[in-house]
Symmetry: C3
């Protein structure tokens, strides 16, 4: 937490209009219902507006799209902005600056032969770095990680505790990889010999481009013979599965527990909501959006929003879902028509 910043300074950083006292000091942030003096809060949804009245926050970021705020506590300043989430993100970066830990290689880290370490690299206790790995400047590796032979990590990339990178994985710059993520795992490939599934050697690799974040316990397989690749700036949540040979484009959002089967190609700027499943060998076009839990079994054209199981274009499915609940009534109506109108023997 910082030493604090005045409401006025904060407003200047955020480009916000102040309603209230610019001299209050803010030292941290908290949700609107629990914020206290010297804390900043924010309001981005109309449904939380009633909390404003009772808050003890010293300042509250309010989205202009919420309309005019009628009541506010005397002691609370409002910071009016166009985009409350974005303003909050900026404010948090001011209030909670990243810790500057001094770089060090833990004495218990096992660093293999021919490893290249850039300037200012940090390696936590009990981490194992395989032969020939390259860690760029400012790389921070947590405790108990396992970095396979020949892996490469770009500058300023951070591995949290207990990350595993299989042999030969390449991670770009400024990535964040959370605990329990497994990168470059063998893909799930077998051929049937008689009644036995024989493993197909998985000899490709996994490439993560720059500025990617990967959530806790997420698994990304290596290519079978080529690459599995995650494009720059893509963000992946917890417990996601990405199979071998998948290519994910740039700037995608992949929410928790999504599964993408082998060889599927995902364009740039695609959003996959939670628990979505996509079968193998498909193409998902740039900017497509797939709703939560959808099961995708066909190519999705660029820019479309798909929905449902099996997934189809949103409006089509919404209409069918609404009709779905009228089904029992519809059956009765058709029965009645048949009973009333069809000649005996015709009805069935």
């Amino acid at each position: 937490m910082s030493n604090g910043i005045t409401v006025g300074e904060l407003a200047r950083h955020l480009g916000a209009e102040i309603v209230g006292d610019p001299k209050g000091m803010v030292r941290g942030a908290a949700p609107i219902e629990s914020a206290r003096e010297a804390e900043l809060s924010f309001l981005a949804r109309r449904k939380y507006l009633p909390y404003l009245d009772g808050t003890q926050a010293t300042a509250v970021i309010v989205g202009r799209d919420l309309g005019k705020v009628e009541k506010r506590p005397q002691e609370t300043a409002l910071l009016l902005v166009d985009d409350a989430h974005r303003a909050l993100a900026q404010a948090l970066a001011l209030l909670y600056p990243a810790e500057q830990k001094k770089s060090e290689i833990a004495p218990t880290a096992v660093v293999g032969p021919r490893v290249e370490l850039g300037k200012g690299v940090t390696i936590g206790p009990y981490t194992v770095v395989g032969a020939g790995a390259k860690l760029g400047d400012g790389v921070r590796v947590g405790a108990q990680c396992a970095i396979g032979e020949g892996c490469e990590l770009g500058a300023e990339t951070e591995l949290k505790d207990q990350v595993v990178l299989y042999r030969g994985s390449r991670i770009g710059a400024r990535c964040i990889i959370h605990s329990g993520a497994r990168i470059g795992v063998d893909g799930f490939g077998y051929v049937l010999e008689g009644s036995e599934h024989r493993k197909v050697p998985q000899v490709g690799r996994c490439v993560i481009e720059d500025d990617v974040e990967i959530g806790a316990n997420t698994c990304i397989d290596r290519g079978s013979i080529g690459e599995t690749r995650i494009g720059a700036g893509t963000k992946i949540d917890n417990l996601v599965h990405i199979a071998h040979n998948v290519r994910v484009g740039r700037g995608c959002i992949i929410v928790a527990q999504v599964g993408v089967a082998g060889s599927t190609i995902i364009g740039n700027g695609v959003a996959l909501a939670g628990q979505v499943g996509i079968i193998g060998h498909l193409e998902i076009g740039d900017g497509a959006r797939i709703a939560a839990q959808a099961g995708v079994s066909h190519d999705v054209p660029a820019g479309e929003t798909w929905f449902g199981y099996p997934a189809r274009q949103r409006t089509q499915v919404m209409r069918a879902n609404a009709a779905f609940l009228k089904l029992p009534e519809l059956l009765r109506r058709v029965q009645r028509i048949e009973d009333t109108l069809l000649p005996e023997g015709e009805a069935k």
Copy 2:
């Protein structure tokens, strides 16, 4: 395993009625189809009744709701109880008393500065405990865990091997956290700047109240600025995802692979079956029950049972599902009505 207990003693502990010999010795437990002499088994479902005839178990707990048992082997005593599952749980606690390991801090554990350890704390090999962490009396930490700076663990809580607690997480008393669980992970929060997703600093924390069990490889995010909180007595299975700012009430049951998106509030005594998904910013009322794989996208009132994708109240969905399979037939029936009755040119 214990040194054994007689059928008579066991019956007394369970408040069971004995049919058969009370003097047999029981030393362990096994399923009805594989139990042998000196073993206890149990019968809670009618479909497994035929196994009773051939069992070699010395005693079998039988629920009175299964009705009168006609046949049983001469050597097998029945223990009749009202609730077979509950009686089995009690019997197992007698037959398999928890091991009393002597407490010790492994010489390879890395314990940071200002860490406070209660009486009888155990820490396994290669575990790392960050600065300022507090471990209550009788806390047992397995091998290769990573406990972040400033974490707090209540008395008698147990971490199995390879658990990660991110910085500042608070765990109550008597919790059990299984291998690979990740607690207090950064939430999945970004704001768009142009076409780039910029990370929103995740500065809140994760609070687990007393008597919570958390399954293997489950991930629970920290709050973005406030808390993510799991209420006392809630039990969470493997591979579950709980996003930032979620609040789960007391005494809930959350089965494997469930995903709960950000800021959703779950009441007390809620049951979420396997693979359920709940979108963000919803409220799930006390005592609600959500069926397996359901996809919840609206608030669920207290006490209701929801079902399906998109999820709706159970009875409504059951009816519609039944009608769903009659759809092809319904289409044919409507076609026939139109062909028979509508004037030429009207039908479409």
Copy 3:
């Protein structure tokens, strides 16, 4: 990577017919769109045929079922085979022979009392092996694994880094267990005492038979009092959940993120596609196939293919799904019939 093999030798190994120059040297493999000189590629799907024209691969395995190939680059030899995937698997085993690492016990491995190690066992740094465990000949254990007391691992089995085996787990011969897999976890069993969920001691064990592969971060619970068992030759992908007392037969394929609830019995040769969920106490017959994301709540007869949520036989669901999208139109058609034909007061 090997020192290379000629196209002619390769063809002989694969039983392939050569179209082109048998004297070219092949040293590695790559996908058809990125392969270069001295690399082998393959074509198993008609949709990738256009890539053949521009490839720089020295040889390409082509399935005879793709029909006659009209065009190919002069420098590229074709290897015609009946089963391209199988031929590729054989070729990869030649081109990328398994590394022969010398066996060693890392000096930082913690090996408990009464542990039995076979010949040629390898144990990685910071791995902990509990008292009384038995590791067969040629077992390879990665870094930072935790092998519980009394576990048994059959000959030639490999644990990748950061695997956890709970106490008493038994793993067969020639298994591969990937990073973050948790084997023998406590099952999710509670009985209600008043409003509290009381843990049922989980005293059974987990048995993995020979030749099983288990994916990254997959969780398999121990039996409650009996066994959880995975049959020989079964292959399990990443992030799968197998609950207590489940029995999986031989030669099954279980794709990523599948969840199987307690006490369900799965036959031999069953295929469960990605994200399938199966509720507890069911029987899935030999050779059954369950499509991706299906939610199974009834027994599935042997040999059937099921589909959908709730899951039913494939053809039935396909027809109903097709009709589903015609629902809004159907509603309008029935409305029009009623408006046109039913006497006033009858329609509703």
